[in-house]
Symmetry: C2
Subunit: 198 residues, 2 copies
């Protein structure tokens, strides 16, 4: 028995999970290669070797499929760290983002998303809202521990960390060493430190 068959036997829903994974991966590949405007359910169906009607039934629309693919991928690749300190979390998160953006798929997705003119894009706004909501835990825990000032806006603090990573990847193309990530996390912590806002 192949490992794949074994997987299907052992776990109810294994077949369904496999189809879902194949469809999401095909969606990401198509996004990275063609850009979001050119991704269609039929294109994804062809790449994943799945019936278009199955995708239509399961995801409802192309936009929902793209959002699911992007969010699932980000959640898998960029889990929110919990190291015990705000500084540690910010450094660990920055490291994950750097690694992610250095993968061919991660880099291509960022480039494609930057280049696309898609306003208004409900999927884009929802993607970032969801990502910021997850990562807010880093700031909330920092505030609870007294490291960051009460009232710190999680989105603003996180943007100050995340934006330079993407700015370097996309525009200046300067390398990002570990020391850069630490200096960046230090700058964010200083800016929102508990005494800084008092």
């Amino acid at each position: 028995m192949s490992p794949a068959q074994d997987e299907v036997r052992r776990r109810p829903g294994g077949r369904s999970a496999k189809v879902r994974a194949a469809v999401l991966r095909a969606t990401l590949d198509a996004l990275a290669e063609l850009g979001p405007d050119a991704v269609s359910i039929s294109e994804v169906a062809r790449r994943a070797d799945v019936h278009a009607t199955s995708i239509q039934r399961r995801w409802g629309s192309r936009d929902k499929l793209v959002l699911d693919a992007m969010l699932t991928h980000s959640q898998e690749q960029l889990p929110i760290p919990d190291t015990g300190t705000a500084r540690g979390d910010l450094i660990a998160f920055a490291r994950l983002i750097r690694s992610y953006l250095a993968t061919p798929l991660g880099g291509a997705l960022a480039r494609v998303m930057a280049a696309t003119e898609d306003d208004p894009a409900p999927g884009r706004a929802e993607f970032w809202r969801s990502r910021y909501d997850s990562a807010s835990a880093i700031v909330d825990r920092g505030v609870a521990r007294g490291e960051l000032a009460a009232g710190t806006d999680p989105r603003q603090a996180l943007e100050l960390l995340i934006a330079p990573l993407h700015f370097r990847l996309l525009l200046t193309r300067q390398p990002l060493g570990d020391d850069d990530l630490e200096r960046l996390a230090d700058a964010v912590v200083r800016s929102f430190a508990a005494q800084g806002l008092s």
Copy 2:
């Protein structure tokens, strides 16, 4: 006499300056429409209605032409403010960048530069080095006035301001209100404030 002829008469070098301006503008338009990889001296010559040999003679290479066009445009559109305070300078600079990125040409150039895979790109590194060098005056004056800590790295402080503007334009597409720019400048000043690093 047309204003253009008048300009040529009045100012020695006026004709040459006009050709230069036409070539640089044609270069920017081609960059925004075709991307840097597809910009050639012959394409620019066609658009500017100038002989390719003249461009070759004056700029030497396609890469130098592109760099000159980008830097000249940035210097014109993004002069370094000098308001009397670091906070004021950062806010004024952020406003200029926001306006610039909201123009069709500025937005298109940023998107195209983000999407291009051109590593290693000497022109890109030189462009950003030159821009950071100009804008460093904001940080240097802030340090001299005692607003920012001695030893503040101008590039790091400026990146913290500039990166979120580009990140929003390119990736999250969240709007940038005046209050956002002020909060951003405040975050940068807090992070590098004279007492913050002591």
